[in-house]
Amino acid sequence: MNKSTKTGLALVAVLIVLVVGALLAYHFLSPGTTVGAKTITVTIDHMVGDDKTIEIKTDAEFLRGALEQEKLIEGENSQYGLFITLMDGEKADESKQQWWGFTKSGEYVDTGIDQTPIADGDSFEFKLNEGY
């Protein structure tokens, strides 16, 4: 076995150790989900049309499941999960740099809808923003 093969295998071994470490970090540090029935409130701030507040009863563990259950969203899969392009019938116009964003009880959320866990009584506010 030559030196570069040994170095390569050593680096692969380091990579495997780090992958296991990342999996453990994700398992122990990511927020937990709630199983079972729950009710959440979703407020939608439209750019065109009336704003809306919807109460959703769901068994979904993540926000995306609850929104899809109500057929509220359409989007494109991206590296960060689903990127919402349409919500409650209003499409984000990419040429105007429009995008749908959301907060949880008015607070910034650093996860997408695929990874945001929901619990009974949670409230989420969606807004169509303009400008990146």
């Binding site: 570069s4 390569g8 380091v14 990511s30 590296q79």
Partner: protein, 164 residues
């Protein structure tokens, strides 16, 4: 730097951007890391110019959001790592480097959040992105293992003169 090199590096940056857009329908799978490593192998430290073109194109097309701060340094980390191993010819070593870079991508991108919302926000950002980092790691490893050897041979054939 010669005019020819200037054009070649600009084209490499444009190629990085083009392939990323072309493969954007497959989340976390792209050949940008392979192309950056290839650029370092052929052009050495001048690869920073190609990365600058790539990052600028990303900003012009997708807008200069907070993520752009990450892009200003995150790809340069790969260039620096590749420069250290520049003489290496083993595809396995390059694949491991690309895999390590993919795995650490979220961690590197979380750094600005330390200054915005403190360590808890940065940690939360990193942890929520771990599944994406794992996918990035796996795709980088496989694509680099398969492509870096043939691409290097192709570049040397197309560009027989060594960079000066």
């Amino acid at each position: 730097m010669s005019l020819r090199e200037l054009i070649e590096l600009a084209l490499m940056g444009a190629f990085m951007f083009g392939t990323q857009v072309a493969m954007s329908s497959i989340p976390n799978v792209n050949v940008v890391s392979v192309l950056i490593i290839l650029t370092v192998m052929i052009y050495g430290v001048k690869a920073f110019y190609a990365v600058a073109v790539f990052v600028l194109l990303e900003g012009l097309i997708y807008g200069f959001g907070l993520w752009f701060i990450n892009y200003l340094y995150v790809w340069d980390v790969l260039v620096l790592a590749a420069l250290i191993f520049r003489k290496n010819e083993s595809s396995l070593i390059w694949a491991a480097i690309a895999g390590l870079f993919g795995l650490s991508f979220g961690l590197l991108c979380s750094l600005p959040y330390i200054f915005i919302g403190g360590l808890p926000m940065a940690l939360s950002y990193w942890v929520s992105g771990i599944p994406f980092d794992l996918a990035h790691c796996a795709s980088n490893f496989i694509l680099t293992l398969l492509l870096i050897g043939p691409l290097r041979k192709l570049m040397q054939k197309l560009r027989p003169r060594p960079a000066t």
